[in-house]
């Protein structure tokens, strides 16, 4: 699917000589915001579900006395309660946030604090209902995005690095680390790191998240035993699901930071209205 002229985004120059181009088509804008809301609900209901058994293992089954990770509470040497995260042989005091936190003024023993879970109080049943409903929304939204992206050529145009970008990979990394962002015509395409990050997210991390979630299901394990095997067993799938959630959170944090430092208003306008400013004429910029 080669980029055809029809794919070129519309561009216009306003009265003050500012160049604008139509960066995000409607379907992609909608998919983006639906995805953002859905991922928030999935994360918080996911933490609610995790709280029901706040320990992770590798393999098919739980090795209860030897978890890979556990969030618990115990009594410190001075006899006061503390929250503790145990990873392998290491323990980290996380009082106040993980293991032991304050909920409506009282100290409670729970892995993730009330403000991070949906619902806020301990309620696995409702957490699961939110999680499954929104998992379906994630899948439907993702399918619409991918189908649209494939058939419109947008996925290729937006996310596959161009030849020159791959050749100048090192330069691109340097520019990115110095928080120097392209302007003018170059700003019409994502830089190579952006492209690869989004690619890993939409074709790697998010699908892996859904599959690891399904791999935990006893029904799916009966229907598609290869899926659970692919992840190394049900408990491995649960651990991978948890780690992948962490990576998505990391992505969102970096994404939001970069949206802010690379021009919050222009970026937000772009993702809300579609129109993105390329600044004044390239030569006169700066």
């Amino acid at each position: 699917m080669a980029a055809s002229p029809a794919l070129e985004a519309p561009e216009t120059v306003d009265r003050r000589g500012r160049r604008w181009f139509y960066r995000h088509p409607l379907v992609i804008r909608l998919a983006h915001w639906i995805n953002a809301a859905v991922l928030l609900v999935l994360l918080m209901s996911g933490l609610q579900i995790f709280n029901a058994h706040p320990a992770l293992y590798w393999g098919a089954v739980s090795t209860f006395d030897n978890p890979a990770l556990a969030i618990t509470s115990d009594q410190g040497r001075d006899g006061t309660n503390r929250g503790v995260v145990t990873i392998g042989a290491h323990t980290i005091d996380t009082t106040g946030v993980l293991g032991l936190s304050t909920e409506r003024g009282t100290e409670v023993e729970r892995a993730f604090p009330a403000w991070a879970t949906l619902p806020a109080n301990q309620d696995l049943a409702t957490g699961r209902r939110w999680h499954f409903l929104f998992a379906w929304l994630l899948v439907i939204n993702g399918a619409v995005y991918l189908l649209y992206g494939l058939f419109s050529g947008q996925l290729r145009r937006r996310l596959i690095p161009d030849g020159d970008q791959i050749r100048d990979f090192g330069g691109s990394v340097k520019e990115h680390l110095l928080l120097r962002f392209p302007e003018g015509t170059e700003a019409k395409r994502y830089n190579v790191i952006q492209k690869l990050t989004y690619l890993v997210l939409v074709l790697g991390l998010l699908p892996a998240m859904v599959l690891a979630g399904l791999a935990m299901s006893p029904g799916m394990d009966a229907a598609w035993p290869w899926l659970t095997e692919l992840f190394g067993g049900r408990q491995s799938a649960r651990s991978i699901h948890f780690i992948a959630a962490g990576l998505i959170v990391l992505f969102v944090v970096v994404h939001v930071l970069l949206v802010i430092v690379s021009g919050l208003v222009n970026n937000m306008r772009g993702m809300i209205t579609g129109w993105f400013s390329l600044g004044r004429d390239q030569e006169t910029a700066r």
Binding site: F50, Q122, R129
Partner: protein, 315 residues
């Protein structure tokens, strides 16, 4: 100007997320909310059953993978006097009742059940909380029992009535409607609390149906309810015929080659391997065939289902 806009956006985002999450909890509490949230469960059941057939089996594992300790959860020592008396006799007078929409109601002793064809399977038990254990189960396929009883054409669901009391209806340990405001965080939490309370309570002195005759499992006595504020609610579960006739759906009497321990559901527990742990009813006393789940508990088909958990627990 831009600074203002930024502040506004940040404040707006904060407000929106607070409103969103507060709104989520409110929404989940409404009738529409409950129905909407159930759509995910319906979709899960529909799609999973498209991907399997009634006879699709859950994965079975080699003996080398059996967990050294099969974590007992929920009730691990039923407080009920009737049950305790039976356990003291090593369940020699235990009789499984099979009734409801069947041609020939049955009362089967453990010896009768062991004389029927048996099936042994090493499967993974997946708890709704997230943990898993592998165990070897031996028991009689539910299909054999149901064939012996002969289903009436209207029979759609098998309901399992159990011996273990989880709470008391109408102002007992957990008061009436309050039970729904303070829903338990996970299966097990409430049950564990009851077991502790039960151990401390003087069961002999309880004025009520903890002493119910053992042929009365799950039948209660609605007439006595107003005076009797301590009517026990015992565990109950249900499956449909799709799962009831699956070859791996068994009434298990052995775990890892030994008679089922009390903590894992002695003398008989259900295994319905394609679903989560709370469907695997322990201390099964009676199998009742019904046409609809409307008359069982509060109508959602199981103790935990009546407290918000999915009836279809395939995920």
């Amino acid at each position: 100007m831009i600074l203002h806009r930024r502040k506004l956006l940040t404040a707006g985002a904060g407000l929106m997320s607070t409103a969103l999450l507060g709104g989520c909890d409110k929404f989940a509490g409404t009738e529409t909310g409950q129905r909407t949230l159930k759509v995910g469960e319906d979709a899960n059941e529909y799609v999973q059953r498209l991907l399997m057939s009634p006879t699709t089996l859950a994965r079975e594992f080699p003996a080398s993978m059996i967990s050294p300790w099969f974590k007992p959860n929920g009730t691990i020592d039923p407080p009920d006097r009737g049950y305790r008396a039976m356990a003291a006799q090593k369940f020699s007078d235990f009789k499984l009742t099979v009734d409801g929409l069947v041609q020939n109601p049955l009362a089967l002793s453990l010896a009768d059940l062991r004389a029927l064809p048996s099936r042994t399977q090493i499967t993974r038990h997946d708890c709704v909380e997230g943990w898993s254990c592998i165990g070897q189960w031996s028991g009689v396929p539910l299909a054999e029992v149901l064939k012996k009883a002969g289903l009436k054409p209207q029979a759609r669901y098998a309901v399992f009535h159990c011996a273990d009391t989880l709470e008391y209806a109408g102002g007992g340990l957990e008061g009436g409607d309050g039970a729904f405001l303070e829903r338990p965080g996970h299966p097990g939490a409430v049950r564990d609390a009851y077991i502790q309370l039960a151990a401390a309570a003087d069961w002999g002195g309880a004025p009520t149906a903890t002493d119910a005759p053992k042929d009365d499992w799950g039948q209660g006595s609605p007439a006595a309810e107003p005076e009797d504020r301590r009517r026990p609610i015992r565990y109950y579960e249900s499956i449909d015929l799709y799962d009831a006739f699956n070859p791996q759906t068994i009434l298990a009497y052995d775990l890892n080659g030994k008679p089922l321990p009390v903590s894992n559901g002695a003398p008989l527990r259900l295994r319905v391997e394609r679903q989560l742990g709370y469907k695997q009813a322990k201390y099964v006393m009676r199998v009742e065939m019904v046409e609809s789940l409307a008359g069982i508990g509060q109508g959602s088909g199981g103790y935990w289902e009546d407290r918000g958990y999915e009836w279809y627990a395939g995920i």
